[in-house]
């Protein structure tokens, strides 16, 4: 990695963010009937339309920025939103580096959350031990679900994309079913919700903020993945398999073994994201109880984080922080005229531009000499 290509990727990413903000602004203006009405007499008094548009865009983006980083509380809220994104994003990034597309973060995180939450409310242990046991259980849950994909791919050649998508839905249905069983359903309730996790299994947080163990865990995981990729033999084999599996096999590396290990590790990382969802304290200080939407969309969000982070640990941390801040800012916009869901549009647009650097250089020709490579594998091959 030379200095200039680092620079190129940063520039392209910034360009992608700027382009996404511009398109987001257009979408906001076009979708607001009050602002659009003023364009009806644009040629008579252009000032009205431009002022209304400027006001709309400015207030929305200001509310977004304020909600994301406007106060210490908001900043720590952003880090707590970033933690599961970073963890699951690392899982996807690690698989990308080995040439595997892991769309299964959702299912792996769900199993992580199921295992961790069950230990959290079903078993009663002393203070530090409880959270450790729950954490290990959750990691195991994710690792098994991810490992299953690796094993199927290594043994039968089943394409990891289709298997992970399908296993996501199997996990979603398993969670839905478990929440109707006496072991998981909160006594006295008929809806799908579990008991509340013991306080001994809850992640500790810095008093008066949302900065909790989950974010520290995410940074530690990023460091571990960096070490694995850059300093370990396994990491070398992993990258070799990702670059050219035939060459790696010729050099004596076992492609099958590497595939299984990578998917186990990717599953473990996504499982950690599920652990974070199950054990991290919410605003009230108590973790959100297990329910059907416990992990949100973390699996697909993780793909976006890994893409924008160029599948490198540092990049994933930065991308996770960016999207965590976007999510938090979106939540903070509820009172504003513009719905906070605009952040979902921004997130998808940023990733779309990052995934297609050729489009960015076409729109911004002065970047042309520095065209960055796309962060994804060139071809996927058919999904079988």
């Amino acid at each position: 990695m030379t200095r200039s290509s680092w620079w190129t990727e940063i520039l392209t990413t910034i360009a992608a963010i700027v382009l996404a903000l511009i398109i987001g602004a257009v979408v906001m203006v076009v979708s607001d009937p009050d602002v659009l009405d003023k364009y009806a007499y644009f040629f008579y008094r252009p000032g009205d339309a431009l002022a209304a548009s400027g006001d709309k865009i400015g207030s929305a983006y200001f509310a977004l920025l304020k909600g994301a980083v406007g106060s210490w509380g908001a900043i720590t809220q952003s880090t707590s939103q970033a933690a599961p994104l970073i963890l699951a994003g690392l899982g996807v990034a690690l698989a990308f580096r080995a040439g595997l597309i892991n769309i299964g973060g959702q299912g792996q995180a769900i199993w992580g959350a199921i295992f961790a939450a069950y230990i959290g409310f079903g078993v009663h242990l002393p203070l530090v031990i409880h959270v450790l046991v729950a954490l290990i259980a959750g990691v195991l849950g994710g690792a098994i679900w991810g490992g299953l994909v690796g094993w199927l791919k290594a043994r039968t050649g089943a394409h990891e994309v289709i298997v992970t998508i399908m296993l996501n839905y199997v996990a979603i249905r398993m969670l839905a079913w478990l929440l109707t069983t006496p072991a998981f359903q909160r006594p006295g309730r008929t809806d799908s919700i579990s008991p509340i996790v013991d306080w001994t299994a809850t992640f500790a947080r810095l008093a008066g903020s949302q900065l909790h163990v989950g974010f520290v865990l995410a940074l530690l995981a990023a460091a571990a993945v960096w070490w694995l990729l850059e300093r370990s033999t396994l990491g070398f084999a992993l990258k070799a398999v990702g670059a050219n599996p035939h060459a790696a096999a010729t050099a004596g590396m076992s492609v099958a073994r590497t595939t299984i290990i990578v998917m186990v590790l990717a599953g473990a990382l996504a499982g950690l994201a599920g652990v974070d969802a199950a054990l991290a304290p919410s605003d009230s200080g108590v973790p959100v109880p297990l329910s059907n939407g416990i992990v949100g969309d973390v699996g697909f969000d993780a793909v976006t984080v890994a893409l924008v982070g160029r599948s490198r640990p540092v990049g994933v941390v930065l991308a996770g922080l960016l999207f965590g801040a976007l999510h938090t800012g979106g939540l903070g916009m509820q009172g504003a005229q513009t719905p906070g869901t605009v952040t979902d549009v921004l997130q998808a647009l940023i990733v779309l531009f990052v995934a297609a650097p050729a489009l960015v250089t076409r729109l911004l020709p002065f970047l042309r000499r520095r065209a960055a490579r796309s962060a994804t594998p060139e071809s996927t091959g058919a999904l079988t």
Binding site: A158, R173, V351, A356, T380, G381, A382
Partner: protein, 433 residues
């Protein structure tokens, strides 16, 4: 991966005995795994004998059907026993390998039908209500309608060599378009047209990034799904949440004169809404398009060997664009179904993974419009069975039945039930030399 797979069926591990044809390792694995599956299912049925009480009743008509058929009562215990034994026998026949080719297919069919009949008998035996057979089948077609249309979209794209993971996103955007245009015009026809156009719009996004910018198509599909979810969610919050922009008219079912009077089949098949008929017609239409027109031949050629197609003067990008856009029409119409067949009301992310079931149907249906539609109907059947069994109050969780499409797809791509062979250049961007 494809190179390894073709050699997996090599002669090593094959069994050669006098008087018997050669069996490759892949076929052997397939035979054994199907045999094990059917045997296990048969043993499961025999295990359920203890929990089978009374008679199983099957209602062949709804209360409102013109011709009332009797409710069939079958003895629960003997029937489950027979079905279980049939499954075990079929499984054993496959495992011993004493069955010739045609009988193997027969054994597989006996196992499948035996399990279905046995399971339904067990589920219905001794319940207060009869199992509503006609309702189950009629609803299967309703549930399967968008799946069939989505699967056709997938088949068209992938036959041209473009993987479409964004069927879900196409459904979402098309559904919102149908809801809004349907509300404004109060016309089903305009709602369907708007949905088709929205589907084509999403298809154009897929095409421009997959074909022109050569973005990895799976990643692209995931991102487009997120974009569709984000943009429909935002527009719903910002603009379309008021009911004056989100209450489209709902389709009523159209009974085909004459045909709908046929006992049993009439009310089940010929009393559907317009989109269900449209889906039914679309299957042969896509088949003819792909296999009987020169356009279809060119589409398939760029999906299999784009270089060769290019050499004889076929525009690879042109064919891929046209196939993806035509697919968008079908996906869009499928998206309209979610609005026009239900409440006429769009809510966030309410297609709920149907696009991914359609993708599964494409693969299970081996990239063939007919088989993919059949698989979509099978998945619709499993989903509908989940809700029917729930109303019967059986101990089987409906979640397990709704898992069926996904588990079946994993088993299929793992090559346990027949190897699926995709178009050779599926998912590979083409660059002119």
């Amino acid at each position: 991966m494809s190179g390894e797979r073709t050699t997996a069926g090599s002669l090593e591990g094959s069994v050669l005995e006098p008087g018997r044809s050669l069996e490759t390792a892949a076929l052997r694995r397939q035979r054994l795994s199907v045999g094990i599956l059917i045997s296990v299912v048969g043993l499961l049925l025999l295990g359920l004998l203890a929990a089978t009480h009374g008679t199983a009743r099957f209602a062949l008509s709804n209360a409102f059907d013109p011709v009332q058929l009797p409710t069939v009562s079958l003895p629960g215990l003997p029937l489950v026993l027979v079905c279980g034994l049939l499954c075990v026998a079929a499984g054993a026949g496959l495992l011993t390998g004493r069955l010739a080719g045609r009988f193997q297919t027969l054994a597989g069919t006996v196992g499948g039908v035996g399990f279905l009949v046995g399971f339904l008998t067990w589920a219905a035996a001794g319940r207060a209500l009869p199992f509503p057979v006609s309702n189950q089948i009629a609803q299967t077609f309703a549930v399967a309608t968008p799946l069939v249309l989505g699967a056709l979209a997938g088949v068209l794209c992938e036959r041209a060599g473009v993987i479409n993971v964004a069927i879900e996103g196409q459904f979402l955007v098309a559904a919102q378009a149908a809801a809004v245009v349907g509300t404004v015009t109060q016309s089903i026809a305009w709602a369907i047209i708007a949905a088709a156009l929205a589907g084509v719009g999403m298809a154009a996004l897929l095409a421009v990034f997959a074909i022109k910018y050569r973005v990895n198509q799976v990643v692209l599909g995931v991102v487009l799904n997120l974009l569709a979810s984000g943009i429909t969610g935002f527009l719903l919050d910002q603009r379309f949440s008021q009911s004056n922009l989100n209450s489209a008219p709902v389709m009523s079912s159209i009974a085909i004169p004459g045909l709908s009077k046929i006992p049993f089949i009439g009310p089940v098949v010929f009393d559907q809404n317009i989109l269900a008929y449209l889906a039914g017609i679309s299957v042969p239409v896509v088949w003819v398009l792909l296999f009987k027109t020169s356009w279809g031949l060119r589409v398939r050629s760029v999906g299999e060997h784009p270089r060769a197609a290019d050499t004889v003067g076929i525009s690879v990008t042109g064919m891929r664009w046209s196939a993806v856009l035509v697919g968008g029409v079908f996906a869009g119409i499928g998206g309209a179904f979610f609005i026009l067949a239900a409440t006429g009301h769009f809510t966030r992310d309410f297609t709920n993974g149907s696009g991914f079931i359609a993708l599964a149907a494409v693969i299970m249906g081996r990239w063939h419009p007919g088989w993919a539609a059949l698989m979509a109907i099978f998945f619709g059947f499993a989903t509908e069975l989940g809700s029917q069994v729930q109303t019967l109050n059986t101990p089987v969780p409906s979640d397990f039945l709704q898992m069926l499409p996904y588990v079946a797809t994993v088993i299929a791509v793992a090559g346990l039930i027949g190897r699926v062979r995709p178009p050779a250049s599926d998912g590979e961007p083409y660059q002119k030399a």
